[in-house]
Symmetry: C2
Subunit: 423 residues, 2 copies
Amino acid sequence: MRPCNALYAQAGGVTAVINATAAAVIRAWRARGEAVGALYAARGGMPGVLREDLIDTTAESDATLSALRHTPGGIFGSARFRLGEPEEDRATWSRIASVLRAHDIGILFYNGGNGSAVTALQLAGLEQVCGHRLACVHIPKTIDNDMAGTDASPGFGSAAKYLAVSLREAAADVASMAGTSTRVFILEAMGRNSGWMVAAMGLAANDRQQPPHLLLFAERPFDPDDFLARVSTTVAHHGYCVVGVSEGLRTADGAFISALEASGPGGEAQLGGVAPRLAALVRDRLGLKCHWATADYLQRSARHIASAVDLAQAEAVGTAAVDFAIAGRNGVMPGILRECDAPYRWRIEAVALHEVAGREKRLPAEFISPDGHHISAAARDYLLPLIQGEAPQRFEDGLPVHAAPALVPVPCRLPPWQATGKS
Amino acid sequence: MRPCNALYAQAGGVTAVINATAAAVIRAWRARGEAVGALYAARGGMPGVLREDLIDTTAESDATLSALRHTPGGIFGSARFRLGEPEEDRATWSRIASVLRAHDIGILFYNGGNGSAVTALQLAGLEQVCGHRLACVHIPKTIDNDMAGTDASPGFGSAAKYLAVSLREAAADVASMAGTSTRVFILEAMGRNSGWMVAAMGLAANDRQQPPHLLLFAERPFDPDDFLARVSTTVAHHGYCVVGVSEGLRTADGAFISALEASGPGGEAQLGGVAPRLAALVRDRLGLKCHWATADYLQRSARHIASAVDLAQAEAVGTAAVDFAIAGRNGVMPGILRECDAPYRWRIEAVALHEVAGREKRLPAEFISPDGHHISAAARDYLLPLIQGEAPQRFEDGLPVHAAPALVPVPCRLPPWQATGKS
C-alpha cells in the first residue's frame, strides 16, 4: 500500500518562529524517506484547504528550509478559521474530506493556538463524520501564551524577549533626560485577554527599583486615580516612570480602555491604542511630559531578537508532531513539559487535544505582585527561562535575509469550491 | 604648567550609540596619560555644568567603558539647552566660566545635534566674553540626521537599521494573513521636520514590489484622498499595503496630522500619533482592517540592532575630538567625510562649527521617488552603507547588559547656583 500524504496548515496569528516549526515538520517528514508520501502545505490555512490551494513542500530547497528558521510571519499563509459542528456545517466538513481524499492526505499537522486546537480536535473526528481516515496532530504556537497543555506556547518566548529588551533599552533613554524632558514612558503590549506579555516586560527589572516601575495587567481593573498617584510617587522617587500596559486593559465595569470613544466633532471613529490614552491622562492631569510606544506586530515578528529557547521549542514541537503522526496518533498535540526552572529543562510529551481545546491558560494570580503592579518572584521563575539565549540570523546588506520559498502549487483535482453562507 | 582638565557633556536627544562616543572620548583622553589633566563629565548636560554637578570619569573602570559601547541612552544624562547671547544672558555665561575656571577646565567636548552646535559655537567664544580660555569641540550625534558638515550623524544609522529591519519583519507578518485579516499596516517614525527616518524604512524594499509600498514624508503635504487611493490600489495589487509615515506629516496648510484635535465630549486633549489617525482613516473610508505601530523611543534606543558602521563612526568622532582638542582646535567638529558609496569608505575631518551651527541638512528632494511615495536610487546609495553590519552586545539571562558606571561626583568648589529667570 502506498503511504499516505500529509498536510501542514498554519492557523491564527503568526509569530517570529512559526516558520521554524514549519521547517522542522518538513525536515522530519523528509527524514522518513520512502516510508512516507508527500507533504503539502495549505496556502493561507484552512481556507486554502477549502479552495484546494495546496503547496508541494517537496520543491523547497534545503537553503529555503534553513532560511525559514530566520523568517518571521507564516510563509504558507495563515488564517483564523472556525469550523461549525458537523450537523450545522456539513458542506464544509464534506469539502475538507473531499480535498483530503482527492490528495490522499491521511495526516494533518495543524499549527495554531488554543482556538485552532478546537478545530484540530473536531478534525480528529473526521473519519466518524465523513468516513475519511485522518490523523490530526495539533502543533502549539501563539504569542499569547494562553494554551493549556504546554509549559509555553512557541512564539511567546520571542515576543517576551522583544518586549523586555525594548523596555530596558527605552528606559535607559528616558532615564538620561528625565531631569529636563520626558518623565513618563508607556509601552503597550498585545494580549487582549491576558497579561502574559505585560508580565514579560517585568523581566526588564532585576528589582523593583529598576524600570518598568508600573505594569498594568489586563487582569486588574484600571483605576485612573490610583494610576496617576502611582506615577506621581514614582516620578518623585526615581525622577521618571516607565509603564508597561496591556492592550486589553479594562475599567472596573469591563470596558476596554482602547475602545473608549474619542471621536471628534466630525464623528471620527476611535483611534485605538491604550498607551496614547494613558499618555493623554498623564499630560492632562499631572502636567508631565509623556512619551508612548505601541509595538503591535513588531513584537510578534521580531525574529532578529528571538529567544533561542523559544526557537528550539518551536522546532521540537514540529519534529515531535511528525513522530506522533507517523506513529498513528490522532487528536494529540506535542506539549512542552517543564522538568526544572533553573537550569531550565524541558521535554516534549503528547497531550490529548481535549485537554487543550477551548481551554485558556490565564496568567496565575500569584504571578502578579501583591500591589498588583509588577510581577512576582514566581512569575520570574517561570518567565526567565523562556527568553534565554539569542538566535542569530543571517543579514545581507544590513538587513535580515528571509526565505523566498518556491511555493509550487499542487494541481487541483476537484471542481472549485463554492463557499456557502455558513462557512 | 599643569595641563588643564577637560569636560564632556551630552546634549539633546540621546541615541543607541552616544555612550560609545563617550567611551571613545574617555579612552582617547586616558591614552594621553600624564600629558593631560582629568576628564570630567557633566551630569545631565549643560544644566549640570550650571549646578557644578560634575562626574570624575577617572573612576570608571575599563569594564564600564566596554559596557558603554553596548548601552543605549546617555549615561551621564543629557538635556536640551539654549544659551542666550552674552548681552542678554550674562549670568549664565559667567556661571559657566566660573565653573570651568574653578575646575581648571580648558577643554569642552559637547556631544550634540545641530541645535547644540549653536551652543558649542557660542562657547567657543567664551574667552572673548568671559576671559576664560576654552577649546570647545562639538561631537556630532542625532538620530534625525539633519546635521550639516558630516556625511551622517552618529545615532541615525542605528535608528535607520532598526526601522528598516522592523518594517521588513512586520511586513512578513502582515503578508501571511492579509487574505483574511489585516490588510494595511502603518509604521510611524520619529522626525518632526524631516523624513530621514521614513526614508530609512524604504531600505526594507529591494524593489517597488516589496514593502513598504508607500512612504509618507514630512516633506510632502498629506492628501487624504490621494493616500486612500494609493492604499486601495496597493491592496488590490498586492493583497496588502505597508505604509511608513513620519510623525512630522502635515496637511497642505502646514498643520501636523498628529496635532489634529481629536477631543471627545469630555474635552480630552489630543492623543498624539500620526499612525492611529491614518489607521482610523483607512478603516472608516476603505473598510479595511488596519494595524499600526509607533516605535517612539524604541527606535533611538535599540542598541541590540545597532548598525556596526554607525557604532564605528560614533567611536571615531569621539576619538578625533580628543585629538582636535589637544591640538588646540577650538570651534570645530569632527565630521564624517564620505569618500565612496560602494564600498563605503569614510574618514574624519575637522569642520568649522560656523558651517554646522544652525544649519539643517534636509532630505534632498532627489532622494524621494518621482511619485513622492518611496525613496530614489540616490537615497539607497546614500542610506544603505549607514546600516551595514551588526554590532553584537553582551546578554545575560536573556537580556542586554548595560553599564553600571560609578558616577563619582567631583567635589563642588563654588556656592550653589541661583538660576535667574533668564536661564
